[in-house]
Amino acid sequence: MFRALFEDGVLLDLPVVSMLAFFALFAGVLVWTASRRRRPHYDRMSQLPLED
């Protein structure tokens, strides 16, 4: 069974699989950055350019 798995070239898809994992992670991060409640530290930091 494993042999067939390897010989059919399924392995070639592995980079694709992990690429999808990467994109999923990234999409997750995007959602997370948008939705989590704000941290005071971040608020202060993002005010820096507006201070002077």
């Binding site: 392995l11 980079p15 992990s18 990467f22 997370w32 950055t33 608020d43 993002s46 350019p49």
Partner: protein, 787 residues
């Protein structure tokens, strides 16, 4: 992290003079660079537009155009933005006015140096690294002055944590230094000529590791820093998500450096390097769009202001172009797309979407905002700025669209076959004719962009003269020097995020290693695991408990160290195997070098080719496709260019590939007389050609005083010349040249009484070189040097 109580407050005056200087240099030199580009564009339609002048010829001014836009327009703009924002974000004046000035003047000196060398054929002929060794030293001096001043400012800052813009600047300073120095390592052979230490495939890898990351760390990261500072400022609201900017930054810095080989798909470069380049390029899409969204969403709830405020218009359009280019780039890195797009004008379109749309518009937005501040006044005319925006926008769209169409068209025509399986378009000039309308449209688009730029200069000039130079001032709380609280910097640098990254990398390599399927599966599982842990950790980190990044943000040294690690990881993986592999010399069955070093004459001819910059229109790299086989011959092999310092694979085919011009299916493709005539006037041989005339090569001489020194330098770099060859270089040169001259006399090209005169002219050497191209023995793969 709590700040220690301030010791005192202090009034500081920022050095805005340096910002004004860089701004002026950017707009003025930028205009020159753009105009040179327009001239080059016009020459694609009218070869006569060089007015038969060597130093106005396409192959000499195209490098001037690219260097001027990158280093003068964007470089000076970036420095203006960096000096302005860094002082304010760190709440300190630049520590050394002397270093700021040294930076400014040495940078402008290098630019002037480029203007007086490149058009005169003093060039390394590596893309965006054309400047010769003595100018490279100037660049390094300038950059070091900048770096010292910048890091010194970090040391004396009055703001504990570093804002995201500063991170991007750090990554720029560090990475450009590494890239520039490594790629320009060279052995000077005279005051104006050097040979790079790398050759062939290794040089190609190094060059595109540099070239790609010059785009990344010169044209992108500093401008992103500028975006993160100036966009919120102009919009009057903070960046959309600070958290996203953290992810954006690290993902970008880490991934970018690996993507260089996407410039070399389907070349003789080893497959693993190509695949790696493609994968990382695809991954780049994600953080790039994260950054774009972060920029655009900063304007949420303020979109109505975009309509009224030209500054915001330019920023919004600029960031959108960033998104387009960073979508198109990964797309072009997919092998099958690259197969069509590479070597065509599509790439030129891609570059200009970035250069004009992203860099040009971000620059304009920044200047429209900055100049009124720097002169304590209001912008002279918003209407004029609006007009600039629209003219520029139409210009860019026209430019990009025409290059898309032109590029894809030529890509398709190159490969089109007849029913009998032969090439449908054998005549190169027929293909060029078909895309001529696109070249006209492109020139017009470029013209419009320049028109907009001129409007801007006028507008900024009126603004500046309506006010007077003022330097910003601020009351700052002086930060007590102290050891940062919490774990040691080392503990943070080598903390969990770093460990996870390393584990992810190891897993990635296991996965890609196709020689062992079990390892690949394990690697994949491992990688997914690492990604999952990272996700979970990031999630938990948001509970205010985990503040790894807060800590690293307040420690410039640790931060910089992490950037270095991130950048070196990709750099080493890409470069080291190339450096190790390259020195295997392939042998023929009879025990000779399969690749003969160039004779003295051929080497000098090659230097003429390099000096004239023929690589801007001709590639020397045949890809393994049927149409290229029919048109140019066997695919190029990696060892064929192994003695080439520098490699001349090229990136654009305005003319045909030349890798086998001297040996097409076993014989010279053309006789010497063909080349002699063609170089003096291409249209004598090839009606409708757009190649410039190089008639001066038939009169200008090679300086034979340098010849043996050149062979000697090559030997020092590893090319197997014997001592006899080096000593007898000049005699050997004259003997081989005389053969070609005699052949040309026999063919009626040269008069018999000019024989002595012509032996030393550059064109004879160039012909010898062209006739040599493709003349290397085919080697058994077993004897090394192959893929």
């Amino acid at each position: 992290m709590t700040d220690t109580p301030a010791l005192e407050t202090r009034r500081i005056v920022y050095d805005d003079g340096i910002v004004r200087r860089f701004t002026l240099a950017s707009v003025v030199f930028g205009l020159v660079g753009l105009l040179v580009g327009l001239l080059a564009a016009i020459q694609m339609s009218f070869w006569q537009a060089n007015f038969d002048t060597p130093w106005l010829t396409f192959s000499r001014i195209r490098p001037l155009h690219t260097n001027a836009v990158i280093f003068a327009l964007v470089g000076n703009m970036m420095f203006a933005g960096v000096y302005y924002s860094t002082q304010r974000l760190l709440k300190t004046r630049m520590p050394s006015d002397f270093l700021s000035r040294l930076h400014f003047w040495s940078w402008q000196a290098v630019i002037i140096g480029a203007v007086v060398t490149l058009p005169f054929g003093i060039t390394q002929s590596k893309e965006y690294a054309e400047l010769e060794w003595f100018l490279d030293i100037g660049v390094v001096v300038s950059w070091v002055a900048f770096a010292i001043n910048f890091f010194w400012a970090l040391a004396v800052r009055n703001e504990r944590n570093l804002y995201v813009a500063i991170w991007f600047y750090i990554s720029t300073i560090i990475t450009i230094a590494v890239l520039y120095i490594v790629n320009n390592l060279a052995l000077p052979v005279s005051a104006t000529k050097s040979y790079g230490v790398f050759s062939g495939a290794q040089d190609a890898l190094t060059q595109w590791w540099y070239g790609h990351n010059a785009v990344a760390f010169f044209l992108t990261t500093p401008i992103l820093g500028i975006m993160y500072y100036f966009l919120p400022k102009a919009a009057g609201r903070p960046v959309y998500s600070y958290r996203l900017s953290i992810v954006h930054f690290w993902a970008l810095v880490f991934i970018y450096i690996w993507a260089g080989p996407h410039h070399l798909l389907y070349t003789a470069l080893p497959d693993w390097a190509q695949t790696l380049g493609m994968l990382f390029s695809l991954m780049l899409w994600a953080p790039s769009w994260g950054g774009m969204l972060n920029g655009l969403l900063t304007l949420r709830g303020a979109w109505h202001r975009v309509r009224e405020e030209p500054v915001l218009k330019f920023f919004v359009a600029g960031v959108t172009f960033y998104g387009m280019s960073t979508f198109e780039g990964p797309l072009l890195s997919i092998k099958s797309v690259s197969a069509l797009g590479h070597y065509t004008d599509w790439i030129i379109g891609h570059v200009h979407g970035g250069a004009l749309g992203w860099n040009g518009f971000m620059a304009a937005g920044m200047f429209y905002w900055l100049v009124p501040q720097l002169f304590g006044t209001k912008l002279h005319s918003k209407q004029l700025a609006d007009l600039h925006f629209w003219i520029g926008m139409v210009g860019i769209l026209l430019y990009v669209a025409s290059m898309w169409i032109g590029g894809i068209t030529s890509g398709l025509l190159w490969r089109e076959m007849t029913d009998e399986g032969t090439l449908r378009w054998l005549q190169w000039t027929e293909i060029i004719d078909k895309i001529q309308p696109m070249y006209f449209a492109r020139s017009f688009g470029g013209f419009l962009f320049i028109l907009g730029w001129v409007l801007m200069i006028w507008n900024l000039w009126k603004t500046a003269t309506s006010g007077k130079a003022v330097d910003g001032e601020a009351e700052v709380r002086v930060l007590a020097p102290r050891v940062a609280a919490g774990p040691s910097t080392a503990a943070i640098v080598f903390g969990t995020p770093t460990i996870l990254t390393v584990m992810g990398l190891v897993a990635g390599f296991m996965m890609i290693d196709s020689s062992n399927p079990v390892l690949s599966v394990v690697g994949t599982v491992f990688l997914v695991g690492v990604l999952a842990v990272t996700g979970v950790r990031a999630f938990w980190a948001s509970r205010d408990r985990f503040r790894w990044h807060d800590m690293i943000e307040s420690r410039p040294l640790g931060f910089t160290l992490l950037v270095v690690l991130a950048v070196l990881a990709g750099g080493l993986v890409e470069l080291l195997p190339g450096i190790v592999l390259q020195k295997e010399v392939p042998m023929t069955a009879s025990g000779e070098y399969a690749v003969r070093p160039y004779t003295a004459l051929e080497l000098e001819g090659r230097d003429v080719y390099v000096s004239e910059g023929c690589y801007v229109c001709h590639s020397q790299m045949i890809r393994p496709f049927r149409d290229e086989f029919l048109r140019y011959g066997e695919p190029s092999r990696i060892e064929e260019s192994m003695w080439d310092h520098p490699f001349q694979w090229g990136s654009k085919r305005t003319g045909p590939d030349l890798a086998r011009i001297g040996n097409f299916n076993g014989a010279d493709k053309y006789p010497h007389s063909w080349h002699w005539q063609h170089m003096i006037d291409p249209r004598r041989i090839s009606a409708g050609s757009t190649m410039p005339r190089y008639q001066w090569l038939a009169d200008d001489r090679v300086d034979l005083a340098d010849t043996s020194g050149k062979l000697k330098a090559m030997k020092a770099l590893g090319v197997p010349y014997t001592d006899e060859q080096i000593e007898g270089a000049v005699d050997d040169y004259r003997r081989q040249a005389a053969e070609i001259v005699d052949a040309l006399i026999a063919q009626g090209e040269i008069k018999a009484d000019e024989r002595e005169d012509k032996i030393e002219v550059q064109l004879i050497a160039l012909i010898a070189y062209l006739q040599r191209l493709g003349d290397n023995a085919v080697v058994d793969v077993a004897s090394g040097g192959g893929r």
